[in-house]
Amino acid sequence: MTSTYKVAIVGSGPAGLSAAARAAQLGVAHVLLEKTDHLSDTIFRYQKGKHVMATPSQLVLRSDLDFDAGKREKILDTWNAQAASQNVHVRYRSEVTAITGEKGKFELKLSDGDVVHAETVILAIGTQGNPNLMRCPGGDQPHVEYQLDDPTAILDEHITVVGAGDAGIENALGLAADPEQRNVVTIVNRSPDFSRAKDANVKALTAAAEEGRITILTETSTNRIEADHIVLDTRDGELRIPCNRVIARMGSAPPRGFVESCGIEFSSKDREAFPILSPVFESTAPGIFVIGALAGYPLIKHCMNQGYDVVEFINGNLSLKPADEPILEAKFNKLPGNRSVDDWLELLRTGIEILRDLTPLQMREFTLDSDVRFVRAGEVIFEGGAPGSSLFNVATGSVHVRINPNDPTIVVPIGAGQMFGEVGLISGRKRGATVVAAEDSILMEIPRTAALKLIATVPAVKRAVTRISIERQLLQLFKAGLSPGDIAEVVESAETISVRAGESIISEGDENYDIYVIRVGSMVVERTIGGKPVFLSYLPAGSYVGEMALIEGGRRTATVRAAVKAEVIKLNGDAFRSLLDRNPALLERLKLDMATRKDVNAHIETMKSTFSDVADMYSSVASFLVENGIGEATDVLLIDEKLCVGCDNCEKACADSHDGLSRLNREAGKSYAQLHVPTSCRHCEHPHCMADCPPNAIHRGLDGEVFIDDTCIGCGNCQRACPYGVIRMDKVPPKKPPLLNWLLFGTGPGPGEPSAKWSKKYGDPEAPKKAIKCDMCSGLEGGPSCVRACPTGAAIRISPEQFLSVSQMQKGE
């Protein structure tokens, strides 16, 4: 091929396809290079009938191809038809193996030996489609597969699944789910355990193995693959078993090697880093543009818009505003001062300390996720004690932090460029103090996920946040009129330490006197009495411990260990002692706190001598609760089994309060001493479910509840991430006839969640599944329905600070 294209587009996913369509519309000489024999392989590989969502919903689609939420088949059909009618020039089965040359004369070497010449290159290869391959002899045979579209379509086969991550386990379970399929499924794992997979999957797998439906081979690797057998190296030697199909799920890697070989630099060495890009998506190799998932935008709409934009840019239309321009305009037009979007972005970037290192593209992204607000002098930004985990930055003006709740005149000023609210962000606990605008100010509020992303991607942000947050946390914790200058020495000595669950930071009998501030997670304090650990108290994030040894001298009197994975700030004992010497008021305060703690200790010890069983009970109930996730809970449903009659009215009430789906399972879950922790959301400090939500649909609400909003795309990430199994994926059932119709005429399914059969009969078969979880009946007068609907008082909701009194009542009866 000798002709030179203006653009060569690599990858025909949503981004590449949209770029090619734009090029075709503009009459730009283009070629779309696709590795497979069909368009958009990633979506092609979705399982049949999957409902594809179109998020973020507020983003306007700007592409020559249509796209709307719907079934996989419909979307692919639309794109195939439109690509053909718009004369998109596609070259199938053209895998690009190398890109050489420079802007104006690139050479793209293809796997079939051909070379494509182009002036510019658009890389839209995504991060999928690059699975780790079987490297043993025979691994290249056609019956070795790297994905499973439809487990129910495979009948009467011997199947070996290689790799025991979640994908592998889910495939194996799917294949063995129905005994009618008569499949013989073996799963092979190189390591002795299943550390990479989610707990729920591992449990399901071991259960299936116990029932004889699946064979698990651990510490085993593949030796070679034959036509109808597989040979495995097990710990006890070679094993040859029948095998008609190998499904290898050994993970996939972003094709970083290939991208870097094109001369493109990444933003960091981090495995999840993305290429460095200019505002027009140009990489560090001039003439090569990167869009789509590889550029860090995994959502289909983003990809399609970028495809459109990048071709416009290449075609010289540099005045094209990004598709998100109207959204940003809307964000900014509430602010005084009539500036353009670019001016505002520049003002925020230069005005706010932690944003200075961001690229214009990152700036746009973070601003899209954030809220920019104008506040008048005196306006309250948030109240102390309110839940909230976003990070605030002052762009112009200043705010006051009211550090003494009883005296609003005692304030710490925070000026332009600085941040506040970081304690809530880091600890997940409620806001520590009320913040008011000191003058008319412009503030930028970055929500938790965006802020965490910012901290993770920009190292300078991480350092600044850590230092400032330690300083602020200390000021807030010890109050007593300290100034940042007073504690500078202590902050300097401070060290942040991560602590694994169960690990202790202070051991009884030790001879040190450092002070620890709990930043993330929570701790339990125990003391060994009569050879047994006795539970003394529970310390949530934001509290400190270790002052007794410092003030009174002597050895440590108790052990402090992490209830859940935690992070503590270790303050040097000597530095702290000199701080105390200079501040008698602080010493008084610490002594006061210490006296309360000593009272509790003394109380428990007396109890121990008189009622040894009672104290045992107290500590064992407490540790049961901690082990069941109450240590990281902020609000949890407990059931007193001495009162529960099993009527399930809680579940019915839950279903009737939320679209007919119950978000709790009363019977499931652990019990101890007749205190039952049902399967229901604990509203964790650091919700595991929030970690990987593509549309960022999970938030913490005004009452501290963790909830999922309507933008949920039903991907199931949160369900898999939740260690307590409290999220379910389901369709919203149709509306039921009113209660009286059921009572009098027997129409409809009655109170509570309708049966699956009824929902199927009357429901919309096309309705997508969504993630469903407890939202603490937020916004409903009277609070959680489960508790209100309990006839006997068995259902209670508590926060961790209260659970000790609950377990105390348990033993009192």
């Binding site: 948030f382 929500p447 009162l643 009659v645 652990k670 209660l739 009277g782 508790v787 609907a789």
Partner: protein
């Protein structure tokens, strides 16, 4: 996410306080019920109704109206329980009031009729009411005693898990029966074919299942296993082991169902009798006014 000035919207309500329905709000409804009953007794003793105390005196009508109002309100618990609407109500407080005020009806209704009984619709209403109250008293006892037994028996298994467990034992039993001789296989087959929960409500309440094929199979196969030299002794021993697991799984779930039945059975008396009571009450009130 746009979040304007924050403030918490809700406080933890009294519903969360950890007390049973009987003790709700420091026995508030017990106190009210006792007060109401004491007042009724006191006025009954003090007020001299001519010619003699009866339901058709002004005093009788007063107590009758209170009693009828209470009965209708108490019956509405069934509706309240199923109407989950937002609001400052808790079912626990309703149940507390239902229990204590319901018990006070014994005093109020008896004084209302002034101990005049006969073979008529009026006494029928009274008898039905007492039957409803008696079944309710059983309910209170059941709700006080049984939950801890249910919890202790259940362990950490759900009912669905117990059934699953039974099914998985059945599958193993099916496989284990294959190598056995036809007599033993047939005996085990009877255990597999048996619906372990068949039988009437009394069997379930008493947890008594005589002639349970699984028990029989366990006895027979165990007997056969005593002969260790018999051909296939290993297979028989395996079957015995699985059968013994099935026996224990069955007794576990049957005990679960027994307690559940004991917790529920009174409602099958309480609720239909309430409907009968309300009907009789209407007949009583209408006839009183008709013959006035």
């Amino acid at each position: 996410m746009a979040t304007p000035a924050r403030k918490t919207t809700g406080k933890r309500s009294g519903a969360s306080s950890h007390v049973s329905f009987l003790k709700y709000a420091d026995y508030r409804w017990l106190k009210i019920a006792v007060g109401l009953s004491a007042l009724a007794i006191l006025t009954y003793a003090l007020i001299d109704v001519e010619p003699r105390p009866s339901g058709s005196s002004w005093y009788g009508y007063t107590l009758g109206t209170i009693g009828a109002g209470l009965i209708v309100w108490l019956a509405l618990l069934g509706l309240r329980k199923r109407t989950i609407r937002p609001g400052q109500w808790t079912l626990k407080s309703w149940v507390s009031a239902h229990v204590w005020l319901g018990l006070s009806l014994i005093v109020i209704a008896t004084l209302h009729c002034a101990f005049q009984f006969g073979w008529n619709v009026h006494t029928l209403a009274y008898v039905l009411m007492m039957a409803v109250i008696l079944s309710g008293v059983y309910g209170i006892c059941a709700y006080t005693i049984l939950p801890r037994q249910l919890s202790a028996n259940r362990g950490e298994m759900t009912q669905a898990e117990m059934l699953d467990n039974l099914r998985s034992i059945d599958r193993q039993l099916h496989d284990a029966a294959q190598p056995l001789n036809s007599d033993l296989a047939q005996i085990i087959g009877a255990s597999l074919d048996d619906d372990p929960f068949a039988g009437n409500v009394f069997a379930r309440l008493r947890n008594s299942y005589p002639n349970c094929p699984t028990q029989l199979a366990f006895a027979e196969v165990s007997a056969a296993a005593r002969d260790r030299s018999a051909p296939g002794a290993e297979d028989i021993a395996r079957a015995v082991q699985i059968l013994s697991r099935k026996v224990s799984a069955l007794s576990h779930i049957r005990r679960h169902l027994q307690i559940k039945a004991q917790l529920d059975v009174w409602l099958y008396v309480h609720v239909p009798l309430t409907f009968a009571l309300v009907a009789a009450l209407f007949a009583h009130v209408i006839s009183v006014f008709f013959y006035w």
